[in-house]
Amino acid sequence: MRKLLILTAAAIGLSGAAQAADITGAGATFPFPIYSKWAEAYKKETNIGLNYQSIGSGGGIRQIKAKTVAFGATDAPLKGDELTKEGLIQFPTVMGGVVPAINIAGVEAGKLKLTGPVLAAIYLGDIKKWNDPKIAALNAGVTLPDANINPVYRSDGSGTTFVFTDYLSKVSPDWKSKLGTNTAVQWPVGIGGKGNEGVSASVKQVANSIGYVEYAYAKQNKLSFALIQNADGNFPAPDDKAFQAAAANANWNEAPGFGISLNNQKGADAWPITAATFLLIHAKPEKPEETQAALKFVDWAFKNGDKLALDLDYVPLPAGVKDQVRNAWKGVTDPAGKPIF
C-alpha cells in the first residue's frame, strides 16, 4: 500500500513536471556544466526545466537563426552587423579563463613565466626548444631542458581555441597575419587533442609539452600551468580574482552585443586570457512566452547563481555588467512592440 502511494506521488510529480514547458537552448559546450547546475536549482524553485543541448557554438548559432530554440549559446561573439541582420540580441552570462598547461621535467607548477609573444612564437614553431634564449631570459633561476617543445592544441572547433587565438592575435602581429582568430586555425606545428580531456591527456603523456585548457578543467585535473605576463607587465596567478580583474577594467559597450574580448585587459592582477560566453535571443521572437521564460531564467541565475558558478570555477559577471544586460533586454519585444521583460 505504501509502495502504491509512493508510486502515485511519483506519477503526479512527473505529470506536474511535464506540464511546465521546458526552456529550450543549444550551443556552446564551455558553459554547459554551469547552465546545467543553474537549471537544476531553477527547476527546484520554479518547476521549469531547461533543455540545453551542448552541440557547440556553431550549432547554437545555426539553431537560433533557424528559430528552433528559445536561445542559442556561443563562446565567440557575433559581430554587430550579423546581429542586426538576423535580428538577434546578444549578452554575456558568465566568464572563464584559459590557462597554458605544461609538462616539463624539473619545472614546478606556476614557476615557468611566458609572455604573449613568446607563447605565439612557440605555437608558430619559431621557438623550438625549451632552453631558447627568449624563454630563458624570462626565467632566471629555472633549469630549462634542451628539448623540443611539443605544442598541443584543440583539434575540434572550440570556443577555447577562439579565446586563445584571439589573445595571441592581440599580442603578436605575426600570429594575427599568419593564423588569426577562430574556433580552429591552421596550426603549423603540434598535436591535436579532441576536447579539454584530449589536450590534457596529451600534455600529461607527452614530455616537454604545452597545451591550453579552460581554467576550471586545469584546476579540477590538477594540471601544471605556466604564468603569462599581462598588459601591466605582471605575472598574476590564474584564479577567480584575476579573471574578475580582467572583466572589471573592460569597456563592455565598446562592441555591439557586449561582444568585446576580455583578453589582455589592463589591470595589475588581470589574467590576460579571459573571456565571457554569450547567449543569443531574437529581438522580436515568434513565441515571446518562450523567450520570456529564458530571460527569467537568466535573470534568476544573475541573482542567485554566483555561488554555483564559483563552485564550478566559473566567474560571475560584475554587478554593473548584469544591469547593463538587463537594460539590453528592454529591446526584446512581442509582436505588439511591448517589451517582454
Binding site: S155, I191, Q205
Partner: protein, 322 residues
C-alpha cells in the same frame, strides 16, 4: 539434404494456388518495399551530400582534392592531407591486421585443440562488439604512452639520419600519437571481422579435400597454401575488403589517436588526420563554406568506400560462380 529442401518447396508452391495467395502477394510487395527503402535511403544520403558539398566543389573545383590547405580564417579548404591520412591508416591497418587475422583463422580451423578453439573464437566475437570509442580511449591512455616509450623513442634514435627510413619512421615529437598508431588501432578493430569471416570460409571447405591432401603426404603449410587458400581465396579477399571499408570510415577511435594535425608529413610517426576524424572534429563549430567542405569530404569518403564495396561484391560474385 535434397529431401529436406523438397519438403519445404512443395507446400510453398501449393500456397500460391489457394486464397492465401493474397497474403503472399501482400507479403511479397511489403518486402519489396523494404528493399526499395534501402535504395531510396542511399540515394537520399548521396543526393544530400552532393548538394551539401556542392558549394565546396564549385569553389575549389578539382583543386579541392589536391590542395593541402585547411584555413578556416581565409575560407580555403583542401582534402589532400585527409585523403592521404585515410588511405595510409587503412593501408597500415591491412598490413598489420590481415596476416594476424589469417593466422588466427588458419590456427582455429586447422590446428587448434578443441578446448582452445572455443575460447579464442568467443574472444574474437567479443572484440568485434567492443564500441570504437573504447578502442580510442584505450589507444590514447594506454597504448600511446607505451608506444612512445618502447617504440617511437628507441626507433627514432636508431633510424635518425638514415636515408628514407630516417624520414619515414622518425618522430620529431614522440607522443605516441600519429598515423602509425591510428593504423595499428584500426588493425585491432578489423581483425575480428576478417578473422571470423575467414574462419567460417575455411570451415566450409569439405574436409575430404584436406584429408586427401594430408593422405598424399602434404605438410600443414602445403595444405594451407595449395588447398585451403585457393579454395577460400577470393572470399578471404571479400572479408579483407569489408575490413578495409570499416578502416576507411572509422571515426571515433582514429580521432583519439591520430594526432589531428591538418597537414602532411613524410613520417608515419607524425600526427595527421583522416577524412572521418576531421569531420568529427570540426562539424560542431563549422559554418558556411567550412561546413560545405566537410560535407564534400564526406562525399569523397562515401565514394572511396563505395568503390571498395563494389570491388568486394565483384570478388564475392566471382567465387559464387565456381
Amino acid at each position: 539434404m535434397s529431401a529436406v529442401t523438397d519438403q519445404f518447396a512443395a507446400p510453398s508452391a501449393s500456397v500460391r494456388k489457394t486464397p492465401k495467395g493474397t497474403f503472399d502477394l501482400v507479403f511479397r510487395n511489403a518486402s519489396f518495399l523494404a528493399a526499395l527503402f534501402v535504395l531510396v535511403l542511399l540515394a537520399g544520403i548521396m543526393a544530400s551530400m552532393v548538394i551539401g558539398g556542392w558549394p565546396a566543389f564549385r569553389e575549389f573545383g578539382f583543386g579541392f582534392l589536391t590542395s593541402s590547405v585547411w584555413d578556416t580564417q581565409n575560407d580555403q579548404y583542401g582534402a589532400w592531407p585527409a585523403i592521404v591520412g585515410t588511405l595510409s591508416t587503412a593501408l597500415i591497418a591491412l598490413v598489420v591486421g590481415v596476416p594476424l587475422s589469417l593466422g588466427i583463422a588458419v590456427f582455429l580451423t586447422q590446428l587448434a585443440p578443441p578446448w582452445f578453439k572455443q575460447p579464442v573464437s568467443t574472444a574474437i566475437e567479443l572484440l568485434a562488439a567492443v564500441p570504437s570509442i573504447i578502442y580510442g580511449m584505450w589507444g590514447l591512455f594506454v597504448f600511446a604512452p607505451l608506444f612512445a616509450a618502447y617504440v617511437q623513442i628507441p626507433l627514432s634514435n636508431i633510424v635518425e639520419g638514415m636515408p628514407i627510413i630516417g624520414t619515414v619512421l622518425y618522430s620529431r615529437s614522440p607522443s605516441g600519437l600519429g598515423i602509425l598508431t591510428a593504423g595499428i588501432i584500426l588493425a585491432f578493430m578489423i581483425i575480428p571481422f576478417i578473422a571470423s569471416i575467414t574462419r567460417d570460409m575455411l570451415d566450409q571447405i569439405p574436409s575430404v579435400l584436406r584429408e586427401s591432401a594430408y593422405g598424399i603426404g602434404a605438410t600443414t603449410w602445403e595444405v594451407v597454401r595449395h588447398v585451403l587458400v585457393p579454395q577460400a581465396g577470393v572470399s578471404i579477399i571479400g572479408a579483407i575488403m569489408l575490413g578495409l571499408g570499416r578502416a576507411l570510415g572509422e571515426t571515433m577511435a582514429v580521432t583519439f589517436v591520430v594526432g589531428n594535425a591538418n597537414r602532411l608529413s613524410a613520417s608515419v610517426m607524425d600526427p595527421g588526420s583522416t577524412i572521418a576524424s576531421r569531420i568529427a572534429n570540426e562539424f560542431n563549430e563549422a559554418l558556411g563554406l567550412q561546413l560545405n567542405s566537410l560535407i564534400a569530404l564526406g562525399c569523397i569518403l562515401f565514394f572511396v568506400t563505395f568503390v571498395v564495396l563494389v570491388i568486394a561484391r565483384l570478388l564475392v560474385a566471382r567465387v559464387k560462380r565456381y
